[in-house]
């Protein structure tokens, strides 16, 4: 079954009725089986249920054990690099949307080089996520050249740009692309339409199949997730979990990871609806760790530093550090608007110190660029 069919199969599912059927015994039984047995779809939903919130401590203890078992006490450090905020799409929640009269910027190759040099040499980060808005201006050639430059400075290069075809991912792989991040943003197809008003992103299915295309192109890593604040949080968490399971079962060769981004205020005070609480955020993270012991979980600087630090023992494997979400925001003269506000403003050095104090080893390099 393709992913869109899986989403469809839950269209008429009576979530409330399922939640009513749960009791403590059923929830504890799932927690107990986690890590040992492969958990089923309904097990994931059980862990995401409102009732399971009472068992967060039990879930956390198990998640801590599973994480140490598979990932030890290591945290991977990466930084985002925005090279263009030009966007042809109209996503109602985003500061980069086409209709926003913000200052637009599209870095030249020289500027990309300068930013890369700064991040790798001054910040010491070796793993980078290259981000752009979604626009025709990010031609395959532009992306290819950008990745070629980045590969001189970073061991791992991941892109978060407009969805591409299998052939295009293959092409970028030839110049060293390691992975793709693509958020479905909203798994509820009807709601999706109301948030994505125009531009290519309004094609729900093409976006939904993007992680699959990247996996077919045999990229090493693929990161997915829902943007929390758009749809019903539990359903969105459930469907993104099912997406992770679908991909993990289908492409054994790809390392999948999941993120739990929450909407942040961007340009012009966009007020999110359905925003998830810290408690729910933690519940989702724990549910993912219990269901998917070997998948990565990323936490970005959207979250506050205190919150991020407390998440460390619960299943996190990747941490962004020293993040700047403005185009050219690291080393070039500025003035462009951020895509969203970050909350953890610590430098890479400060994050590394914090990790060490808390008994974690920061990992800067996890792959050899020349391979």
């Amino acid at each position: 079954m393709m992913m869109d069919r899986i989403v469809e199969s839950y269209n008429d599912f009576d979530f409330e009725n399922f939640f009513r059927s749960l009791d403590s015994k059923k929830i504890l039984d799932v927690i107990d089986r986690s890590g040992e047995k492969v958990l089923e779809d309904m097990d994931l939903l059980t862990l995401l249920s409102p009732q399971a919130q009472e068992f967060l401590e039990e879930m956390a203890i198990k998640a801590n054990v599973i994480t140490k078992q598979y990932f030890g006490k290591e945290i991977h450090i990466y930084a985002p690099l925005y090279i263009s905020n030009i966007c042809d799409n109209e996503c109602t929640y985003c500061g980069f949307k086409h209709s926003n009269p913000i200052k637009r910027r599209h870095l030249t190759y020289d500027e990309i080089e300068k930013e890369s040099k700064y991040i790798s040499e001054t910040l010491g980060v070796h793993s980078i996520i290259l981000l752009t808005g979604e626009s025709y201006i990010n031609s395959l050639e532009y992306l290819k050249n950008a990745i070629t430059i980045l590969k001189k400075y970073f061991n791992t290069v991941i892109i978060e740009v407009q969805p591409l075809s299998v052939e295009e991912y293959f092409e970028l792989k030839t110049v060293g692309l390691d992975g793709v991040t693509v958020y479905q943003e909203c798994y509820d197809k009807e709601l999706y339409k109301t948030y994505h008003l125009s531009g290519k992103k309004s094609d729900y299915k093409y976006r939904l199949d993007t992680p699959e295309r990247a996996s077919i192109a045999d990229l090493r890593s693929v990161n997915i997730g829902a943007l929390f604040g758009l749809g019903n949080p539990v359903k969105e968490a459930f469907l993104s979990g099912l997406h992770l399971r679908y991909l993990t079962n289908k492409f054994l060769n790809t390392q999948f990871s999941i993120s739990i981004p929450r909407i942040k205020e961007a340009y012009r005070n966009i007020k999110p609806q359905n925003i998830i609480s810290d408690k729910q955020f933690v519940q989702f993270l724990l549910a993912y760790r219990l269901c998917f012991p070997t998948s990565g979980i990323n936490i970005s600087t959207r979250e506050s530093k205190e919150f991020r630090d407390n998440l460390l023992p619960l299943g996190v494997t990747k941490f962004s550090a020293g993040s700047v979400t403005e185009v050219g925001g690291y080393s070039l003269s500025n003035g462009s608007s951020p895509q969203f506000e970050t909350d953890d403003h610590r430098s890479v050095v400060e994050i590394v110190d914090m990790l060490k104090i808390k008994g974690y080893q920061p990992i800067f390099k996890d792959w050899e660029s020349s391979i």
Partner: protein, 255 residues
Amino acid sequence: MDKLIIGGVEFNNRLITGSGKFSSYNLIREMLNESKSEMITIALRRVDLTGKSENVLDYIPKGVKLLPNTSGARTAEEAIKIARIARASGCGDFIKIEIINDMKYLMPDNHETVRATEILAKEGFIVMPYINPDLITAKKLEAAGAAAIMPLGAPIGSNKGLLTKPMIEILVENCNLPIIVDAGIGKPSHACEAMEMGCSAVLVDTAIATSENPVKMAIAFNKATQAGREAYLAKCAKINNHAVASSSLTGFLRD
């Protein structure tokens, strides 16, 4: 003396340790000093050869043999490249081939492993392949020039012990190379059991690195490994399914 010999190199100690999953590099140094382990595996994908960030190699005492591994490799070609980089950067000739194509259970790809071993052994590497225990694969590796065979006891990181015991026993009985149990060993008693079975060494990473006290745990593993080895050399008394009388019951019969 009872020495372990791999690729012509002698070892007095049969506990091989790992450097992944630790909370700091200092802890790795202390663990090595205290456990007396003489060989440690390092993931080359984590080693920053440009010297831009902290380097695990600086924390490994002289005299401890480096066993760079090819973790991260998904094909024979990738493993071969990593091995060559390891050698070129001064990590020596030992290489642990680890090719994983299954990111869900982290199972090794035996076929790709044989292919990589064939090429690297010809290039003079001392090749230690990590495999799913299978006699046919082990025999192919032997023919390809491997220096040891490293079967998994249970899936990586699972700490479940010797789930594959009957398969490993077949390897011990039928292979001419040292059999080193890698992956799955979660407790010192598992290491002891592997050694009692006649395995030549054990590789332990997760169980040490993620214990409450990795240094103390490494010491425990060292003792367990030694105990198991001594038991093996002393030839454990057989478990008999049939009753055995302490003196002959039929000796009165003459021919």
